[in-house]
């Protein structure tokens, strides 16, 4: 791989986050390179979702450093995180996409408008440009016929694919997935996983919180196993799943 492909898209350094007295993240370090797919696995309450929410600006960390696409979202100063200004924060938001567990599509917008609204009103693209991007993405998601439908008329799997298209529309450098198939039944899960797999083949940089172990093993380059607010173990995906080193990882994987 060339150097260009090796640059770092996401750098998380020693982040801590507490809710009241509970320290949910107790010093997490993660670095994601361009084109890399990282799966985050672990038991519920282990801090996976909080990690994702901190990386996507939905929660603020107490201490530590986060750099996305070369821009410093927050940096540690004397044990406390200091965040960048609002303007840069909004710029950073355009560098990543987030796919939610329960889609969070805008129900009053058509599929097309769900995808184009931010392009037009945040990224200042013309309606024609935005529509062209939208059409391309819907084709990719196999949802060409649904452009004018409303989310309530789509299946869960289709809704999730729309939300992936929405996250992709602004051409982000990295996409975060927060348990993208947890709200779907197995049949619908397949379609969504296929889409993510295709993105991985296209070398889209992704961080995926998931409970789909075989999917993580097959699609991710690297797996991070989190429990109790710390990274217990991380390594190449196949190796971590088939040959975990830590007892806690073994115990967790034994449940699958």
């Amino acid at each position: 791989m060339s150097d260009v492909n090796n640059d770092i898209v996401l750098e998380i350094k020693d982040i801590h986050k507490s809710f009241d007295k509970l320290e949910v993240l107790q010093g997490i370090d993660i670095t994601v390179e361009r084109g890399e797919v990282v799966a985050v696995i672990g038991p519920s309450g282990g801090g996976k979702s909080t990690l994702l929410r901190c990386a996507t600006t939905l929660e603020k960390v107490d201490s530590g450093k986060i750099v996305i696409g070369g821009d410093v979202l927050c940096d540690d100063v004397d044990g406390h995180s200091v965040y960048c200004d609002k303007k840069l924060e909004r710029e950073i938001r355009s560098k990543f996409g987030l796919v939610f567990q329960n889609f969070n599509l805008f129900p009053h917008f058509s599929v097309r408008r769900n995808i184009t609204e931010a392009l037009i009103h945040v990224h200042k693209k013309s309606k024609e440009e935005a529509d062209a991007i939208c059409d391309g993405l819907l084709k990719k998601m196999d949802l060409e016929a649904k452009a004018d439908e409303y989310p309530c008329n789509l299946s869960g799997g289709q809704q999730q694919r729309v939300s992936i298209a929405r996250a992709l529309a602004t051409n982000p450098e990295i996409i975060f997935f927060d348990e993208p198939t947890s709200a779907l039944d197995p049949e619908l899960t397949k379609g969504v996983l296929t889409v993510i797999k295709e993105l991985a083949q296209e070398k889209m940089t992704m961080v995926i919180v998931t409970h789909e172990m075989s999917f993580a093993r097959d699609v991710a380059d690297r797996i991070v196993f989190m429990d109790g607010g710390v990274i217990v173990e991380e390594g190449p995906a196949y190796e971590l799943v088939t040959n975990p080193k830590q007892e806690r990882t073994k115990a967790f994987l034994a449940g699958y």
Partner: protein, 224 residues
């Protein structure tokens, strides 16, 4: 023959009086909505404010305005300036006081309805909008408000229909709206007829409002 003629004349006169009064009732209705809805939105915002003082003041406002009779509020707004400041505000103030009291009162109800609507929105809608880069104002006006309007419409409809009937309370300040005129006509004619005609006016007005609101509701039913 003579008697029938007179009855018809009385009827026509009553109708004319009530129609004139109806204009004023409509004005009270329209102006109250015009002022109370934005004020309600403002109080709702204040009620949900993180600043404790603001939030508490708005709670108190809502509590008092909802907890005391509108008729009493009308009297207070009208007579208050005279008894407190010894200022006489002239005859026009009757109508102005009516609009002030109605707007203040209805704003309290609207504030609570809006709060219910806003708080029923899932956090995910805000988060999705934030992550997509929408500003706070864009999130509010493009994503949240349109959905809130749909959700609060049934409750707002209720208030609007109640307001049509409540305009009759302006009688207490001798504002010459329809009910005041109906009362006057009824006692003059020693007949219940003017009241029945007034009732018909209110009902027809509400029938029309119901029709319009149903149309609006239907126009928003393309999503759930």
């Amino acid at each position: 023959m003579e008697g029938t003629n007179q009855a018809i004349q009385t009827m026509v006169a009553t109708l004319r009086q009530l129609t004139q009064g109806f204009g004023l009732s409509l004005a009270i209705f329209g102006l109250t909505l015009l002022f109370s809805i934005p004020l309600g939105l403002l109080i709702c915002k204040g009620r949900m404010s993180k600043i404790t003082v603001v939030s508490l003041l708005c709670r108190l406002y809502i509590s008092v305005l909802r907890g005391t009779p509108l008729m009493l509020q009308l009297l207070l707004v009208y007579f208050g300036p005279y008894y407190v400041f010894r200022v006489s505000l002239g005859n026009d103030y009757r109508f102005i006081a009516t609009i002030i009291a109605f707007s203040l009162n209805y704003a309290a109800y609207f504030a609570e309805i809006f709060r219910g609507g806003i708080q029923s929105m899932s956090k995910g809608q805000y988060e999705a909008a934030t992550v997509l880069g929408f500003s706070k104002a864009q999130t509010y006006f493009k994503i949240i408000l349109p959905q809130v309007i749909k959700r609060v419409l049934p409750s707002v409809s209720n208030e609007i229909i109640t307001l049509v009937k409540d305009t009759s309370l302006a009688q207490v300040l001798s504002v010459a709206e329809m009910f005041t005129r109906a009362s006057a006509a009824a006692s003059k004619q020693v007949s219940v007829m003017p009241f029945i005609v007034a009732g018909l006016f209110y009902y027809l007005m509400n029938l029309l409002i119901e029709f319009i609101l149903n149309r609006v509701e239907k126009s928003m039913s393309y999503y759930s």
